[in-house]
């Protein structure tokens, strides 16, 4: 778990370690409709709420659709690009095609409060926890 970022050089390493350790996590278990599908998703906890960070470089914002229903998020769209005509292609590693992925989160969400932001090829989905799902402190009388 990330606790502090005291040393700026150690910060990235500890983040990478934390991400690696979580790769085998069974937090979502079988609840994702397509684990391992495109695009890859990292899910973080931010206070009470959740934050999904999706790596989606080179997508036109208009080609990206996000739908939310109860605790399910659907990310779909297409990644397209073409080489100009008359060029000789030396190396082709980037992939193109369509994607459609559904992510079910084992936490009740507030669908109206979900926010999506796409910047620098990263899609960030702010997933606020539903008010009814938040833990409550019980005062002892």
């Amino acid at each position: 778990m990330i606790t502090t970022f005291a040393d700026p050089f150690d910060a990235l390493l500890s983040l990478q370690r934390a991400l690696d350790a979580q790769l085998s996590s069974d937090w979502l278990q079988d609840s994702t409709a397509s684990r391992g599908g495109f695009p890859p998703i990292n899910l973080f906890q931010q206070g009470d709420d959740l934050l999904a960070i999706v790596e989606l470089p080179g997508i036109d914002k208009d080609d990206l659709q996000i739908q939310a229903k109860e605790n399910t998020i659907r990310i779909s769209g297409k990644k397209a690009m073409a080489f100009p005509e008359g060029v000789s292609v030396h190396r082709r590693e980037r992939i193109i095609g369509e994607f459609d992925r559904t992510l079910s989160i084992p936490v009740r969400l507030d669908p109206s409060g979900i926010k999506a932001e796409y910047r620098d090829g990263i899609l960030a989905l702010y997933l606020p926890r539903a008010e009814s799902d938040k833990p409550r402190t019980i005062s002892i009388s």
């Binding site: 778990m1 990330i2 970022f5 050089f9 910060a11 990235l12 390493l13 983040l15 990478q16 934390a18 991400l19 690696d20 979580q22 790769l23 996590s25 937090w27 979502l28 684990r35 391992g36 599908g37 495109f38 695009p39 890859p40 998703i41 990292n42 899910l43 973080f44 906890q45 931010q46 206070g47 959740l50 934050l51 790596e55 989606l56 470089p57 080179g58 997508i59 036109d60 990644k79 080489f83 100009p84 008359g86 060029v87 000789s88 292609v89 030396h90 190396r91 082709r92 590693e93 980037r94 992939i95 193109i96 095609g97 369509e98 994607f99 459609d100 796409y118 620098d120 090829g121 990263i122």
Partner: protein, 132 residues
């Protein structure tokens, strides 16, 4: 069968170099497309999450170096719950075979994709030889 092609996840490849970095964090290779036309060599690299100011492109002794640093302060106070990819800085080098006009290198970053245009020097451009 439909003609729709489902995208597969590309596993990130780690950078392997002879020298080690002084920072013990992992560095990844950005996926790249390279193509060439008569005037220039075009290199397109995917570096999601890297901001414009954190990219360094240089050509030295015929080697093109591209470095992208990730601003990991955005990950502060975030606890990973479920992860499918790792994050890190990006770095990649290519040995160029044709002479590049270094002063005219063009770079554009859009949606995490860096497009480099490396114009060839005049002498390196193909030319038609007239037979007398």
């Amino acid at each position: 069968m439909t003609s729709r092609q489902e995208l597969q996840v590309q596993q990130k490849r780690e950078l392997e170099t002879k020298e080690e970095t002084t920072v013990p964090a992992r560095t990844f290779l950005p996926t790249a497309d390279i193509f060439e036309d008569e005037d220039a060599l075009h290199v397109v690299l995917e570096m999601p999450g890297v901001e414009k100011d954190n990219i360094n492109v240089s050509v030295r002794e015929g080697v093109l170096n591209i470095d992208g640093r990730l601003d990991f302060s955005k990950y502060k106070d975030l606890q990973p719950l479920y992860t499918e990819y790792n994050v890190g800085n990006y770095s990649r080098s290519f040995r160029l075979w044709s002479a590049i006009d270094q002063n005219k290198i063009g770079a554009e970053l859009r949606d995490g994709v860096l497009s480099l245009t490396l114009p060839k020097v005049e002498e390196a451009k193909p030319r038609t030889i007239q037979i007398k």
